[in-house]
């Protein structure tokens, strides 16, 4: 199954789930007096769901738009360097989870250093200096200039969450 068709199917599924929620679950928690109003919280979603499901069927059953472009597309997909992309995405997830526990400065510094190394940076010394300066100065900007609290150090240094 081509990528285009799978995505069309994905869209159809989402529309159906959305429609099911709009038609069958939202109204259940509606207080009785609200039912007197001509418009319910579920009215607009119901319209979107109907249009979405119709369009989903059209997308799934229509011919793929660019029949010739397909093969080129697949070749392009093989040429991509997937490994660094997946590693960096994994690192982003790790960053999101570790940002609070280990603090902004350590997590940012290591994200920038490891990220550059994954992409093939060789000059480690420069990298460490630049990442260090960046982590510190951005923390300073956000915390002191913009006034948004960012915990700089790990929990055991700054005490409690």
């Amino acid at each position: 199954m081509s990528l285009e068709r799978s995505l069309a199917l994905f869209f159809l599924t989402i529309s159906i789930v959305y429609g099911y929620t709009a038609f069958f679950t939202i109204d259940a928690s509606l207080p009785p007096f609200a039912k007197l109003s001509p418009i319910w919280p579920s009215s607009f979603p119901k319209i979107i769901a109907i249009v979405g499901i119709l369009l989903g069927f059209i997308l799934v059953f229509s011919k793929p738009s660019v029949a010739e472009g397909k093969e080129v597309d697949l070749k392009q997909l093989q040429k991509y360097s997937w490994r660094p992309a997946l590693v960096l995405l994994g690192m982003m997830i790790a960053y999101a989870l570790l940002l609070r526990p280990i603090g902004f400065i350590i997590s940012t510094f290591s994200f920038l250093v490891v990220g550059s190394m994954v992409l093939g940076e060789k000059k480690l010394l420069w990298l460490i200096i630049i990442a260090g300066i960046a982590a510190f100065s951005i923390w300073y900007l956000v915390q002191q200039v913009l006034g948004i609290y960012l915990r700089p150090w790990p929990w055991f240094l700054s005490g409690g969450f």
Partner: protein
């Protein structure tokens, strides 16, 4: 109008506002020059900064400065290394890069700077005339017409999406609308579509979605495809000799004149932005030229460089017309601007010019100032600014990813939002691989609440959906919307049918 201009001048000429214009233009030019980073990502990254500025006028001026700065910067990287940072400047590279290859990089940059300056300035003058007129018409509109107008806007965006893309763009718009209904809405304080997840109660953050749709996929594509970020090793020639001759000035003057107006008008249309304006401008000028001139197109014609540069800047300005007068964004970029304004408690629309004229007029004045700043910036400083093209991708990409994460974190102060960002970003990348356009999703998301509120208000007033046919204006607009959506498939169907007949005729 004069009164308005004076209000704008007195606001925009304060030190803080000038700082915003200059800062925005500089940041926009710098980041716009980085290959692979478009204006939408840059603006998305700048939004948390703009919101923390706090003052809506200053924020809009800053973001507008970033916007045209990015288009300016994009043309520089198109000309110097044939790597357009922005879709709107792809046409610039057709003739700009051959000129640079022929050792006329300096001249190409000058032509681009002058063309952009004229396009932007003429655009701002037209905006000044157009917007108040349109706004006074829009003041007569009722919520039913607003609802219909937004439907027209959304379908126009889908209809302009290109051949075979209409249903995909519609699907993305609908997904944006669906995402917009998640959480509590303004009219009904009751959580919808949260599926028991507490973090969805307040809905998906608009910055999160903007980052997930634009900044993150662009960064992922930069990693996936190393050839996207060419660096300076390609740039062999020194930038020198910035001057253009009188004869050349005479050649490009009519081109600039025509394309400023054409570009502006295209920019006003919803869905057709700087990209379409620049390609159309290039094609129109090529058709208008003499046979001899036509041969030069693609090999370093200064007409071919001036046309798209003028058109895309004029279109950028034109796209502010529907945003400021109707509150309906016509492009992904203006949708992001609208989101930022809503976050600052300003609702753009026809009332804006009556209630908060200083916002409208100071944005216009800031456009004049911004264009002058960019001209000054681009002409003498360009050889130095172009050095930014030497930033290696091993540094560039981790920093882009980090700024994406940071922007979302600062806005929401919530680590779960970061995970939502990553999941949506991966989905957006996959959709982009199958050439689904992403801008309609964001536009749908931003227009969603307004669409629903106007619809609900009309239903309440008319106690049903009677307004759809009882108000002729509403009905007419909705018919236009349906027509817009069906038009491309109708055209395709007719051309298919003709093709088949021709094929049969050939077969005989």
């Amino acid at each position: 109008m004069l009164e308005g201009l004076l209000i704008g001048l007195s606001t925009a000429l304060s030190f803080k506002m000038l700082l915003m214009v200059v800062g925005g233009c500089l940041i926009g030019t710098f980041i716009g020059m980085l290959p692979g980073l478009g204006p939408m990502s840059i603006i998305a990254i700048m939004i948390p900064v703009a919101i923390s500025v706090g003052d809506p006028t200053a924020a809009l001026i800053l973001l507008a400065g970033v916007y045209y700065g990015a288009i300016f910067g994009g043309s520089t990287s198109s000309i110097l290394i044939n790597a357009p940072g922005v879709a709107g400047t792809v046409a610039t590279s057709f003739d700009g890069y051959p000129m640079a290859r022929a050792g006329k990089a300096g001249k190409a940059l000058t032509v681009a700077a002058i063309a952009s300056f004229c396009g932007g300035t003429v655009g701002a003058i037209l905006l000044m005339g157009f917007a108040p007129a349109l706004a006074s018409v829009a003041l007569l509109f009722h919520s039913a017409e607003y609802f219909a107008l937004m439907v027209v806007g959304l379908s126009a965006i889908a209809a302009f999406a290109g051949n075979g893309q209409v249903s995909k763009a519609l699907a993305m718009t609908l997904m944006g609308l669906m995402l917009a209904t998640i959480g509590e809405s303004a009219l009904f304080n009751m959580p919808r579509f949260t599926y028991g997840v507490m973090n969805l109660q307040s809905g998906i953050g608009f910055i999160t979605l903007a980052m997930a749709m634009f900044a993150l996929p662009e960064a992922i594509f930069l990693i996936l495809d190393p050839s996207r970020s060419k660096s300076q090793s390609e740039q062999q020639n020194e930038i020198k000799d910035l001057r253009i001759s009188k004869k050349e000035a005479k050649t490009i003057a009519p081109v600039i004149g025509r394309q400023s107006v054409l570009g502006f008008l295209i920019g006003v249309l919803p869905g057709a932005g700087a990209t379409i304006a620049s390609f159309l401008g290039y094609a129109v000028e090529r058709n208008l030229s003499t046979k001899d001139d036509q041969k030069e197109f693609g090999n370093g014609s200064i007409k071919g460089l001036a046309a798209p540069e003028t058109a895309n800047n004029a279109a950028c300005t034109g796209s502010f017309v529907p945003l400021l007068t109707l509150g309906i964004p016509g492009s992904g970029t203006t949708a992001i601007l609208l989101g930022a304004l809503v976050a600052l408690n300003v609702t753009p629309g026809p009332r804006l010019m009556v209630d908060q004229p200083e916002i409208f007029w100071s944005v216009i004045v800031s456009m004049y100032i911004g264009n002058i700043v960019l001209l000054i910036l681009n002409l003498p400083l360009i050889p130095y600014i172009a050095k930014i093209l030497t930033v290696p991708r091993t540094y560039l990409i981790p920093f882009i990813l980090f700024f994406t994460l940071m922007g979302v974190y600062i806005g929401q102060n919530n680590a779960v939002e970061l995970l939502i960002l990553i999941v949506l970003g991966i989905l957006a990348t996959i959709f982009r691989m199958a050439s689904y356009p992403l801008a309609p999703l964001l536009i749908g998301f931003i227009l969603g609440p307004m669409l629903e509120n106007n619809f609900s208000r009309s239903v309440q007033l008319y106690d049903g959906v009677g307004f759809l046919w009882e108000r002729p204006m509403t009905g007419a607009l909705l018919i236009i919307a349906v027509f817009l959506v069906l038009l491309p498939s109708l055209r395709l169907w007719i051309s298919n049918w003709k093709e088949k007949r021709k094929f049969v005729a050939d077969g005989d």
